[in-house]
């Protein structure tokens, strides 16, 4: 760390993060150690806890419903009744923000999990077996990586119409190839380790090798890339919502709350333009600093940096 130059000489007993042994009982100790080593990353984690918690508890925390219209109090500034003001239909901005983060985070989490699980499966199988399966998969990934994915996303989602499931699946498909490339590169390294050779020589089945030997050893890269992807996906979801291709109306989503349609209202009540952006920023910031710290902690090559 920056302010303690002695860190480079200190003994590096940080094997806890790589340990394949059962982790739940080590979590608490791990978190404390993480907070000490990576204060910035830990602050990101705390922010995420706050925002995700607020989003999860939206129905309990929100003072109003997300679609409660009140024509007598439109475009109000922050007040005691409406802590963050109201929009052009008199809907409470705080409530819409809470529900909106819930929708945006929900889509992002679902899309990232879906894409990482499928990408990891493909990467482990194709990386482990190699040969023609791997070649075909890699050519496909090559093609996909060279494409303007956000623009394809915009095109397809604007055509198929808004919908939470469609949005999630299409985002998952667009980001899967990149992560499968990353995971595959680690699978290739792991495959040539001696313990894999040992396992094979005592007759462990391919399936078991993939599930019990390779998977745990690529897990750290999957977790790290999921964290970073989450930040990027939140931004993509917000961009889509902003362009008007997000979740269908009454439902709020963070990007949609900033969308171009509302620009005239934002001119009259600038607070409207401020809140959703702040929430997006906090989420993306949180995922990024947390992801960065996680990579430093998880990647043995970068330790002690």
């Amino acid at each position: 760390m920056a302010h303690e130059p002695a860190a480079s000489v200190a003994p590096r007993s940080r094997g806890v993060y790589l340990s394949p042994s059962p982790w739940p009982r080590r979590v608490v100790g791990g978190v404390v150690q993480f907070a000490r080593r990576k204060p910035l990353g830990f602050s990101g984690l705390l922010m995420l806890f706050l925002v995700c918690g607020a989003a999860l508890l939206a129905p309990l925390l929100a003072p109003y419903g997300y679609a409660d219209v009140d024509f007598t109090g439109r475009l109000e500034g922050p007040s005691r009744d409406h802590l963050l003001g109201t929009d052009n239909l008199g809907r409470d901005t705080l409530s819409r923000l809470l529900y909106g983060s819930r929708v945006s985070l929900g889509i992002s989490f679902a899309a990232v999990i879906l894409s990482k699980v499928s990408a990891t499966m493909v990467a482990v199988v194709s990386g482990y077996y190699g040969g023609w399966i791997d070649k075909i998969v890699q050519r496909f990934v090559d093609i996909w990586i060279g494409l303007p994915t956000l623009i394809i996303l915009i095109t397809i989602i604007s055509l198929t119409g808004p919908g939470i499931v469609g949005l999630t699946v299409i985002i998952a498909i667009t980001i899967a190839p990149n992560s499968s490339r990353l995971v595959r590169s680690v699978v290739l390294q792991v495959r040539s380790e001696t313990y894999i050779e040992a396992a094979r020589s005592i007759g462990v089945s391919d399936r078991r090798i993939m599930l019990r030997y390779i998977l745990p050893n690529v897990a750290h890269i999957v977790i790290f890339s999921a964290t970073v992807s989450l930040g990027a996906v939140i931004l993509s979801v917000a961009s889509l919502g902003f362009l008007g291709y997000g979740v269908p109306p009454p439902f709020p989503d963070l990007g949609g709350m900033l969308s171009g349609d509302g620009l005239t209202f934002m001119r009259r009540q600038p607070w409207l333009a401020l809140w959703p952006g702040i929430v997006i920023t906090v989420i993306v910031f949180g995922f990024n600093v947390f992801g960065d710290a996680l990579r430093d902690v998880l990647d043995p090559k970068l330790r002690g940096r």
């Binding site: 093609i143 394809i152 001119r267 333009a273």
Partner: protein, 317 residues
């Protein structure tokens, strides 16, 4: 190197065909209506004969593979088809808009490079100093703050405080350079600053990676001055990954131009695409996507070629 570049070039055609096939599939299979319905159907008066005639005119009849191949054959000859909505050839319309989009995108990229490379280098050279913290902090800030939000804030607050709004009259660079730059400097700057965030962070990481290498230690041990070590040894060796990073930023910038053209009313390919999407204007949608795909494929190729130029190991292998 030669072989690698050949491989890249060989992948270009399948990449673009794959891209347009996906879009074509979405347009012709996933949705029940088409552009002819939207543009020409009169409410309440079904006129199947006329619609069929129009579909034929726009090449939307016959089996789906035939429709696609007919379009592809046109593309090979430089004809991207006609806009179903306006009847004008897509190729001409694209040529009117491409320079504007390129200006926005390249301008943003230039701003990114001019800011990010020096800052990233200094940040790594003075690791853990206040300069480092400042630049890393602002890098994370520029990355985390959504660029379209900054753009919206600028537009909203500029209108509230100075009653300024983006001009609806766009002038091309060669028609009226002053009016053009007045219009486009702001989207360029915001888009460029956004990409700066990632660039600074990755440049810094790459430089730090090189700093750890044995030959840098050797250079230090020889007693070379820090300046020489940085310019001769570190900068040269971290150039390669930095070029990769630039290559990785290009898709973001390309997507950013689409969004920024919409916010700042810049008549480029992105705005053309978004308008066409509302009307399901099939050949415009395909053509615009093809353009964006082409830009990425070409920039990837350029990145690969620069690799060869910079690194003799790649050039000679």
């Amino acid at each position: 190197m030669g072989q690698y570049a050949v491989q890249r070039v060989a992948l270009m055609a399948p990449t673009l065909i794959g891209l347009t096939l996906v879009i074509f599939f979405a347009l012709r299979v996933l949705i029940p209506t088409d552009a002819v319905d939207l543009a020409y159907a009169e409410p309440g008066i079904p006129d199947p004969e006329r619609m069929e005639h129009l579909r034929e005119e726009f090449g939307l009849t016959g089996s789906l593979p035939m429709q696609y191949l007919r379009w592809l054959a046109g593309v090979v000859q430089g004809d991207l088809g006609k806009s179903v909505f306006s009847g004008r050839p897509v190729t001409e319309e694209l040529f009117l808009r491409v320079p504007t989009s390129l200006q926005l995108g390249l301008g943003a990229l230039l701003i990114t490079l001019v800011i990010a490379l020096p800052v990233g280098l200094v940040s790594a050279a003075r690791q853990d100093s206040w300069i480092d913290y400042l630049s890393r902090g602002s890098a994370i800030f520029f990355y985390a703050v959504p660029h379209f939000w900054i753009a919206i804030l600028v537009v909203v607050f500029a209108s509230v405080w100075f009653s300024w709004a983006p001009s609806t009259q766009f002038r091309a660079l060669w028609e009226d350079p002053v009016a053009n730059l007045k219009h486009i400097w702001l989207p360029m700057l915001i888009l460029g600053l956004n990409a700066t965030g990632t660039m600074i962070r990755l440049t810094r990481t790459q430089v730090l990676e090189v700093v750890k290498q044995d030959y840098v230690r050797t250079a230090r041990a020889k007693g070379l001055s820090t300046r020489v070590i940085y310019t001769r040894h570190i900068l040269r060796n971290s150039l390669l990954p930095i070029i990769t990073v630039v290559g990785l930023q290009i898709p973001n910038i390309v997507a950013g131009t689409v969004i920024f053209e919409q916010i700042f009313l810049v008549p480029g390919v992105g705005r053309y695409l978004l308008q066409a999407l509302e009307r399901l204007d099939i050949y415009v949608i395909l053509g615009a996507n093809l353009f964006f795909g082409f830009v990425l494929v070409i920039s990837n190729l350029i990145v690969d070629l620069i690799y060869g130029l910079v690194d003799p190991r790649i050039r000679l292998s």
